[in-house]
């Protein structure tokens, strides 16, 4: 599923980033990479999302969020 499809408060792991290579790289540099654990902390207008990663909050516009694939974290697994 994609980030905008994730419920508020969900704990997720990033499994794919379908942005242009340079944009994906900057996302990497900022700390959002494959395997990154995140929580959705806010649903904003036009599909925008705020996620919590390692103590920081990142705001992503709707189009960008829709290009980030995530999976729920199975805390018992």
């Amino acid at each position: 599923m994609t980030l905008p499809e994730s419920p508020l408060g969900a704990e997720l792991r990033v499994t794919g980033v379908r942005l242009a290579a340079v944009d994906a790289f900057r996302l990497n540099e900022m700390g959002i990479r494959l395997g990154t654990l995140a929580h959705v902390t806010q649903h904003a207008a036009f599909g925008g999302r705020v996620i919590a990663v390692a103590g920081s909050r990142y705001a992503l516009d709707g189009e960008t969020a829709a290009l980030i694939d995530v999976e729920p974290v199975d805390r018992l697994g």
Partner: protein, 722 residues
Amino acid sequence: MSCHGPASSPVPGRSGTATLAGTTAPSRVLLVGCPNVGKSTLFNALTGARQHTTNAPGTTVELATGTWRTARQAPPGQGPAGYNAADSVTERVIVDLPGTYSLLARSSDEQVTADTVRELARSYGEGGGQPGVVVVVLDATALARSLYLLAQVAETGVPLVVALTMLDLAPTATDWPGAAMEPDTLAAALAASLGVPVVPMDARNRTAGGGGELASAVDAIAQYPRGVSGLVPAASSVCCGTTAAAWQHHDAAPDMTQELAHAERLFEWVEQVSEQVSTCLARPLPSAAHGPAAATSVRRSPGPLPRTFSDRVDAVLLNPWAGIPVFLAVVWMLFELTTRFAAPLQSAIGQLVNGPMASAVTWFLGLFGLAGSWAQGLLVDGLLVGVGTVLTFLPVMAVMFAALGVLEDSGYLARAAFVADRAMRSLGLDGRALLPLIVGFGCNLPALAATRTLPHARQRLLTGLLIPLTSCSARLTVYVLLAGAFFPDHAGTVIFAMYLTSVLLVLGGGLLLRRTAFRDVSAGPLILVLPPYQRPHMRTLAMSVRLRVGSFVVRAGKIIVATMLVVWVLMAVPVTGQHAVGHVPVADSLYYGVAAGIAPVLAPAGFGNDHAAAALMTGFVAKEVVVGSFAQSYAVAEPGNPARAGGLGEQLRRSFEESSGGHGGAAALAFMVFVLAYTPCVAALAEQRRLFGWRPTASALTVQLTGAWVLAVLIFQVGSRL
């Protein structure tokens, strides 16, 4: 690795500042850090008022440079009695570089940072003296992100010191598990892991800010440089090689295999440092597990997320329904502050300058027998009017800088960028650009000043070129006069149409510029780090406002005063031999002579008469005085209410009908559009020059005048045929 050494021990085996006796300070200190890590707050704390801003060579990127003074330690064996007080202060030049997440630049601002660090590395590699030290500012609430940038800087081979900031925010504003750590403990753990001095900073605290310790560490590392543990300086390192330039051009994706592989190594180093610090602190640091580490990530999963204060506020301010109304309310507040709130202050200053101050200067000149002379005209009607104009803008600029400072320091500005992102995307601009563009409808001058909140220089320039197209309140008086005189039954509709035209010009101008001179400006993915909300610090805010207002007075004020003097000379010099200099009726002045020379150029737009040309010349100085200029040139009383122009309306109709061949209405519409589209005022021009330099300002001026003429001609030629 020991976890308990002094955090800022400048030299291995030594500790504290005692080692500094006899050291020489580096010639230059560069502040490097991610955006919003408190870098500028630290810069202000270290330099105080001893700073100035300049544009980086060949760019419109603003750089703040300052002098960082600290008390020098007395050499061993020399007490205060034997110590020369004149030598007791050490000075260093310190540069606040634009914030960046990476040395692989994606904008001109980031490129300036990358280039400056690289240049220092090159100077350092060539040897000779102590060219400089980099202070990497690390955000204690987001260590991993800051460490990545630190790794890139370290790889260039420059000597560096770490300043640890945001320590006051960490315990309350983040869900970071190590948030409640003692600053010194965290700094010591980091220093042990990195192998370079780490100084905890509290830049907002004047007395216990850590500036002295930072100075000691900087001076020592300049003299005894050492690398960061686990990183090998490499001149050919990917992070600082020629590939950086290619990253500016988003369309041309470079082969990133090498960069990705290199970045992965740096990410692994960041992970290692985090692990080491965790071990020292015996508690987990936040780690965004990735790649091969993902398999173990559940072990370090943050688990249920505690909601911070900022999360709770964001639940309202970023809410899909409430977020946009809150943003509009904030913009409305800015609009009110820069217009309604500042207006009485501006008026009071204007009265003071034109009343008591003008009288005082006149009285003083009278003592030397110069009352009534051209010298009095020059000083009172030229110089003092110019100075008065600058002074009347001070309240509005101070209010705008203070309001922006509050929004920025509180953390709301980043949210505003997020909320307004959608609206500005079509113009390729950051959401924050909407704020100055709306403020421009009140006054263009503070709106231009507000462009400083945009993160990229090209976006600042593009927004700064569009702001003059927003119809400021000063232009309203002209619309009211002409709409009332020519369209008395539809004046409201005409005025509304002018504002609509203004919006269309901003959108059309923006789209045109994006497809021509600003093809490099594009709205890429919005990925914003939202800083935690915090209470703005009044002392820091006041200093910032003082410095920015001072910069406006010095850099823009000179141009305003010079222009006013030129206007006075034009008004004071007669074109006939019947008058003395300084005692010339407007119609016989050089000013009017120039207007008469310009008038034929305006003929295709239907208002090629001397009165209109003179009014437009005056409007170049300030739109507020266009109505007064018309009244002066027609020798009628200036109407108290432009909507009831009386005799002035009669005169306007007569001359516009005459110059337009019987199409006065079309000519009046064309005149209003010209007033909307050409240069707003000399103060706005001076502010553009201050922010963007002469070249873009001169280009903008040419485009504004040409565009206004073309639009006016178009309106008149079409309107007169309907």
